[in-house]
Point group: C2
Chain length 391, copies 2
């Protein structure tokens, strides 16, 4: 399993520290640019998965069908204004309150909860974890509502963000209410694992907050004032933590042993970091027609994404050049010199090797907890899915 | 008990609807202005309490001593940035991280949790409820952090608010983290009531959010577009709900019967509404040297406080005059005509009768659950305290 998940990447390394990986990667990789492009294409194509288990799309659809009634019923228990804002945010209503077709996202996190419960405890454990899956989805959406306010993002799931429609105050309050709702669901759940799950989800929220704080604080600093360790820790807190928590909650609801719960958490975290690394690569080199974002948008915004910080930290002449470009705000024009500087400083190669490293670790953790590849199939398919997509 | 709590107010009424109370109050009260002033003075003086139980100040100090170690240990479990912002907000640190003398507020809510637990379950129940008391205080402070951002309030407990020091993003995130921390404390509490308490506290957070949403939405509307029922419902959600929840949690930790838990919740809610009514009266007629706020500050801000909305809804000539004044923003000058218009429209009398009504209901609920006046003494002293103070 581990090999098949990492087959499209080059030279997985096993050094114990990120810094060692960086140095090795930045000095030994010298593939031509076009080769690298094809490598990214391989990684982002949705070809046949490496496992014979169910397709991720089917798993996600199944999870959405199981979780949606619980989610809708929870949201509909909110009082007037909170319900209206939440229903808009989930895509179930237009701003005027009329019904909408609904685009509540891909339900990756609830699908991970349910897949982990099924892998470790079978269909009965999966059925018992539906409320926990809804709670994780509520927490995810609380963070989206707040992040959009803080980041001033105006579009979410192809619709205007809640704060642009209802104002900052209402979006913040609706986020607050969704966090409370998530933890209420678990507190009211008679399942023997619910209290442990609630404590874990609450601890995860704190980690998400610290990650978002680190992210926004780093964006205010100069390009050379951010270390690679910092940006990796931020990405783990902001992206990895909730994927890990989702898997851990599924394991808890399956009555898994503590070591297996931690292994599942690590599986989700490492998959999440792999996702973030690939997402950042796509943010620079992805095909705009596939990503829906203009080419180099992250570079134009001077975003300190993982490949950029790796490039800046490389100690190469290209790093100096990149730092000079990043010191001044983007004022339009050709982004190609910036793209090339990140590449020549080794940012792209580093990110790809890191991603494959992370996936290898994820697979290792998964196989520790669930040695049977068939039982692990659903989680594997989901991990493949998140690391092959950019949105 | 009931009588002694309401002795300083006039003509308690017992109509079943607020509207009936309003109409009656607005037409029958015709005390001279100076008499009314002395009535407020009586209500806000800190004379001897009507009960022979422990003084509120002693109870509050005791609660602070019991809860602070739990609160500090919980906050210190937060990661770097979240901990720093929270410690600043609680007054334990200056903005630069150096230790501060600390002014974390009066701990009324944790004191209510502990007093309710003691009243219904004795010292052992009280000791078991310390974590729940800390959770309630964390929720209160999460809402303060967020409310200050939304309301753009720059001072809290005589210090610059967190958002003015750390920015909106960090203040919002620290609030999010405090909510999560509160619910984590309860989820990790092995007490048999902890799950029920967590569900109740989470439901209360939703109510607080709806209350704050209603408050900010009403402030954007015209003076005659807000009904008295709306503003009373808002005040109950924003102020009454958490005081009620604090009392209910204490009852839960004492293993009280469901009816007693609800009676304690109602006691806290009604006391909270009485507090808000008196606070609003003081916001217009209070002595600036005692309140620390300039005279008529609420009127200058065109705040739709309870006496103002009651006055506007009175159907009197003074209501028309007040609406005209409120239609235009305050541009400096004499506020006396506005103060007089609220008085002549009956806003002040209504608020005072409402406050005494609410206190009577609070006492009734309390005596239902705890018929022994000695056992109820701590809760009574705290209710007296909150309704006699304005800050």
């Amino acid at each position: 399993m581990t090999e098949s998940m990492t087959e499209s990447t080059t030279q997985p390394t096993h050094q114990s520290t990120t810094q060692a990986v960086t140095t090795q990667t930045l000095t030994t990789h010298s593939l031509a640019r076009e080769e690298r492009r094809s490598s990214i294409a391989t990684q982002t194509d949705s070809g046949p998965g490496p496992v014979d288990g169910p397709e991720a799309a089917v798993i996600l659809e199944g999870a959405r069908a199981m979780v949606d009634p619980e989610l809708r019923s929870a949201v509909d228990s909110l009082p007037g204004a909170m319900r209206r804002i939440a229903r808009y945010h989930f895509g179930w209503e237009h701003a005027d309150g009329s019904p909408a077709a609904g685009n509540a996202g891909k339900a990756i996190r609830p699908a991970l909860v349910l897949a982990a419960a099924a892998a470790l405890g079978g269909p009965r454990a999966q059925a018992s974890a539906v409320r926990a899956a809804a709670a994780v989805e509520l927490v995810h959406n609380f963070t989206l509502l707040h992040d959009d306010v803080m980041d001033r993002d105006t579009t979410r799931r192809h619709r205007p963000t809640a704060w642009t429609v209802f104002g900052d105050t209402d979006a913040i309050l609706a986020g607050d209410a969704l966090q409370a709702l998530a933890l209420r669901l678990l507190a009211e759940d008679p399942h023997p694992a619910s209290a442990t799950a609630a404590a874990r989800l609450a601890a995860c929220v704190v980690e998400l907050c610290e990650g978002q704080q680190a992210d926004t604080a780093m964006e205010r600093r100069g390009p050379c004032e951010v270390s690679l360790d910092e940006v990796l820790a931020m990405a783990e807190a902001k992206t990895g933590a909730l994927l890990g928590c989702a898997c851990a909650l599924g394991a808890l609801y399956a009555g898994a042993a503590a070591a297996d719960v931690e292994a599942l958490d690590a599986f989700g975290r490492e998959s999440g970091l792999a996702f973030q690394l690939i997402d950042d690569v796509i943010g620079i080199w992805g095909d705009p027609s596939r990503t829906g974002k203009p080419a180099g948008a992250d570079l134009a915004a001077r975003k300190k994404s993982l490949p950029v910080v790796a490039a800046l930290a490389s100690g190469t002449p290209a790093a100096v050049e990149l730092a000079e470009l990043y010191e001044v705000p983007y004022a339009g024009g050709d982004l190609e010199p910036t793209v090339l500087a990140v590449e020549r400083a080794g940012g792209r190669d580093w990110a790809q090797v890191q991603a494959s490293e992370r996936m290898a670790r994820a697979m290792h953790e998964l196989s520790r907890a669930i040695p049977d590849p068939e039982a692990a199939g659903g989680l594997l398919a989901l991990a493949e899915f998140v690391t092959r997509r950019s949105t």
